[in-house]
């Protein structure tokens, strides 16, 4: 998936000392402004939130939030996953998402979901490759952008999947 594989892709966690990198990425990548709660959740999610470095340049990030459902199970909500424009198609996004999915498997988390704007076909196709499915459509989810609707993509992870 993409060339330039001889360049190192490494992952690093997000701490209060480097959270500005995450902010910079979000400012450039997303039309939505995220508030302090977002960053607090990201920092609290531990290993699930990561920055990806391509040849020691920070180009991508995945930020997650751990949520408790009724019944006590934990599920993962992907708040953002985005890569800088020049570095797309190099397999970095795949790497990040696989990292999170692996973690879910190890920690027996069975559900992982996210919101995607209805017109974002690229993103929808990307996630479908990993086994995500559209489970819901929410009208007027976004307040400032157009179209305001979004899909909920969910992936259910069962341990039997790992044995396949």
């Amino acid at each position: 998936m993409g060339g330039g594989r001889e360049f190192a892709i490494s992952l690093d966690g997000v701490r209060d000392k480097n959270v500005m990198q995450l902010k910079k990425l979000n400012t450039v990548l997303f039309p939505v402004r995220y508030n302090d709660k977002y960053y607090a959740d990201a920092l609290a999610s531990g290993d699930f939130t990561k920055l990806a470095y391509y040849s020691d340049i920070c180009v991508e990030s995945i930020a997650c939030r751990l949520e408790k459902k009724e019944g006590g199970a934990i599920c993962v909500y992907i708040m953002t996953l985005g890569v800088l424009a020049p570095y797309r198609g190099l397999g970095i996004g795949t790497r990040l998402l696989n990292h999170v999915l692996d973690l879910c498997l190890k920690q027996n988390i069975q559900e992982i979901y996210l919101h995607v704007q209805t017109n974002n076909d690229d993103a929808i196709n990307f996630y479908k490759k990993f086994g995500f499915e559209i489970t819901e459509r929410i009208k007027s989810y976004y307040t400032n952008i157009d179209p305001p609707d979004c899909f909920v993509l969910t992936k259910f992870i069962t341990t039997s999947q790992a044995n396949k």
Binding site: K17, N18, K24, S55, I57, C58, P86, Y87, L90
Partner: protein
């Protein structure tokens, strides 16, 4: 020792001495008081008590007691010795030497005193005295290894290297064949290397080489052995052997620029100023190509040819050097190539080159003659390089546009913001530079280097309070003034001083500059412990190097800046004393009684302010330092007002001027300042001398000269 004391008191006296040596000061005091109860006029006890008090920070009492003791017992060498120790602890070395000499007059064979005296003489560079003392020590105790070595070093420092070698040979003669034992091999090896380097210095090159080969099994430091050998071979003109040895050294470390230099010297292809004839260039090119085949992983072997190649060859070599580094993403590429910008014509060639690469990457995504695609980061690093390039050539708009494009491309790279900040600073917008440096800092709060850069920019933009707050983020305990001062963080103090000076706050500026000056005084002091340590550990070559370094200490750039800054403060202060309350002699527009009243008023104001501050500070320090043994001295003059109160600013200025003139005689600034100061002191002849020096250094810079006259 104790002059005619009965046995009980004599024991107590011994106890005092032992307590002093083991730092049990209270015990020593008690013993001293016990003796003094019976013998209140006993000189030596009084002296020892004074010495103990000195170590407990009761200096004035200490001095009194010691002087009293001395008065009571002038003929006691102990009293003089103690007096000398007292002076030494206060860094009054000349006085201390005098006291020690007196003590020696009374007891000429006292090893303790001789040893202490020799240390002081080394410190004060009293070289003839040092030699004498060392000789005496040797005569008294010839079985003590240190005395031989010390005597040899003394002669070496006194520029008598040949004598030093003789002594070392004599010393070696006293050793047995199976010396040294295993735990002393390093030290013995060091001594041998020292002897050989002495021989080299004196010019006995053949002998040095012989010695080196003979003693090879005993020398432990093999790398230095090789380096010493190759230096001797080259000096003796045995160039082929030297070349082979350099190649062996290069195999060990192919990135050592000195080895390449040496190799060039062996092929008689070395030129100090970097200028070569075209024949020589061809030869060098061939040499480096062959070396590059051997040492493929070395970066030096590829970088050095860029310095001497010209024209098309340079272009070729530059392209092949730069391309892989751009792909890899080396941020320091520009700094690496920066010296080339001083060579005529190369800057243009580099510009052309890089612009071609940029064009090619933008259109095709690959280098002009390659087929594989470049990673997206290459464009980023090209833009980064170009921004620095245009910055260096003074085209700030283009530079800014390039760096802005780079930031848009990949906004997460911190180096981009640092470079943009630097471009803005060069373009003159210091405030914007500071705020950009702050943005860079926020992106990695754990990086102290970025923090320091940000502090520097803030100080350049005269945002002193903000700079202090930012610097504090990385200091221990958040007590920034003391911590940065203790760590001898001179760049910070200089930058603050210059900022205060620009804002006209002369007192504080002067304080900062003098703080830097004090660091240099401390560095000079610090060498004291090494005189005995190095002799014991046999690190003789390093010791001699250190002494040479200390001799040149005040020519260091930071000292120069600090002294120049201090002199400027004093000059400004002399020129416009109306702002300060103290200098009223020049103020002729007021009548004497008015002046007196104003003086009193301001003194009262100031006293009140100082008392307030003292209260504040002592209560603050009381709270925070509760439980600590040592109370940090409260800074009695935080705004530098007392410094501004000096009666004669010009004499203070002259103090620093003399140091500058002695140590930085090749700097234009030194002589400019000398001119300024001497004109004000009406010493026209000295001022004229300064102008002459300026002419000598830079005959073209007539603007300066004209301004002076």
């Amino acid at each position: 020792m104790g002059a005619s004391l009965p046995p009980k008191e004599a024991n107590l006296f011994k106890l005092i001495v032992k307590s002093y040596e083991t730092k049990q000061y209270k015990k020593g005091l008690k013993a001293a008081d016990a003796i003094l109860k019976k013998f209140p006029e006993h000189g030596e006890t009084l002296s020892m008590k004074g010495l103990t008090l000195n170590c407990m920070d009761r200096k004035s009492e200490a001095y009194e007691l010691v002087r009293l003791g001395l008065k009571n017992d002038l003929k006691s060498h102990v009293c003089w010795h103690v007096y000398g120790l007292l002076y030494r602890s206060d860094r009054e070395y000349r006085e201390a030497i005098k006291c020690y000499r007196n003590a020696l007059r009374i007891d000429p064979d006292n090893i303790e005193i001789l040893r202490d005296l020799s240390l002081l003489q080394a410190q004060m560079r009293d070289l003839t005295g040092f030699v004498e003392t060392r000789q005496q020590l040797l005569t008294l105790k010839p079985n003590h290894r240190m005395n031989w070595i010390g005597f040899a070093v003394a002669h070496h420092l006194n520029s008598n290297g040949a004598k030093a070698v003789e002594i070392l040979e004599a010393y070696e003669g006293t050793l047995e064949d199976d010396y040294p034992p295993d735990n002393e091999r390093c030290e013995h090896g060091e001594m041998l290397l020292y002897k050989i380097s002495l021989l080299e210095e004196c010019g006995f090159l053949e002998r040095a080489l012989e010695e080196l080969h003979k003693k090879e099994p005993k020398i432990v430091d093999k790398l230095t052995y090789k380096e010493q050998e190759v230096s001797l071979l080259v000096k003796l003109g045995r160039l082929e052997e030297g070349a082979n040895l350099y190649k062996a050294l290069l195999t060990m470390n192919p990135d050592n620029y000195r080895y390449y230099e040496g190799l060039q010297k062996c092929f008689v292809l070395y030129s100090e100023n970097g200028k070569y004839s075209s024949d020589e260039i061809d030869q060098l090119d061939a040499l480096y190509k062959s070396l590059a085949e051997q040492y493929t992983w070395s970066s030096a072997v590829k970088r050095i040819p860029l310095d001497f190649l010209q024209g098309d060859k340079f272009r070729e070599a530059a392209i092949s050097y730069i391309k892989p580094l751009l792909t890899k993403g080396v941020p320091s590429l520009f700094s690496d190539l920066s010296p080339l910008y001083d060579h005529p014509g190369k800057a243009d060639m580099l510009e052309q080159l890089i612009l071609e690469l940029e064009h090619s990457i933008r259109i095709n995504g690959r280098y002009p003659d390659r087929t594989e695609k470049e990673p997206p980061s290459t464009l980023l690093w090209i833009l980064f390089f170009l921004a620095q390039h245009y910055d260096r050539r003074g085209q700030y708009d283009v530079a800014l546009s390039k760096i802005d494009e780079a930031i848009q491309h990949t906004p997460t790279v911190i180096d981009l913001y640092s470079v943009k900040s630097r471009i803005l600073k060069h373009a003159g917008d210091l405030v914007a530079a500071a705020s950009l440096a702050d943005e860079a800092r926020c992106m990695d709060l754990a990086d102290r280097y970025i923090n320091s850069e940000c502090v520097k920019r803030m100080l350049q933009a005269d945002q002193v309070a903000l700079a202090e707050k930012t610097a504090v983020l990385f200091t221990k305990d958040g007590d920034q003034h003391n911590n940065l001062h203790d760590m001898q963080c001179m760049w910070y103090e200089l930058a603050s001083g210059e900022s205060y000076f620009r804002q006209g706050d002369l007192g504080r500026a002067l304080k900062k500059f003098l703080a830097v000056e004090k660091h240099y005084a401390d560095i000079t002091e610090d060498q004291f412990d090494f005189h005995s340590y190095c002799l014991r550990k046999m690190t003789l070559r390093a010791y001699v190097e250190m002494l040479k370094f200390q001799d040149r200490l005040h020519s260091h750039a930071y000292f120069h800046k600090a002294a120049a800054g201090a002199i400027r403060c004093y000059l400004k202060f002399y020129d416009s004393p109306v702002n300060s309350p103290a200098e009223e002699e020049d103020n002729t527009s007021k009548t004497p009684s008015q002046k007196k009243k104003m003086k009193k008023q301001r003194k009262a104001e100031r006293a009140k302010k100082e008392a307030e501050e003292k209260n504040e500070e002592s209560s603050a320090s009381g709270n925070s330092k509760f439980g600590k043994r040592h109370i940090k001295p409260v800074d009695p003059d935080p705004y530098g007002e007392k410094l501004l109160k000096t009666e004669d600013p010009l004499s203070e200025a002259t103090k620093y001027l003399k140091l500058l003139q002695k140590n930085s005689p090749d700097s234009l600034e030194t002589h400019l300042l000398s001119f300024e100061v001497n004109m004000r002191k009406q010493k026209i002849l000295l001022a004229f001398q300064a102008v002459k020096q300026l002419l000598r250094l830079d005959a073209e810079n007539r603007i300066h000269i004209a301004a002076c006259i």
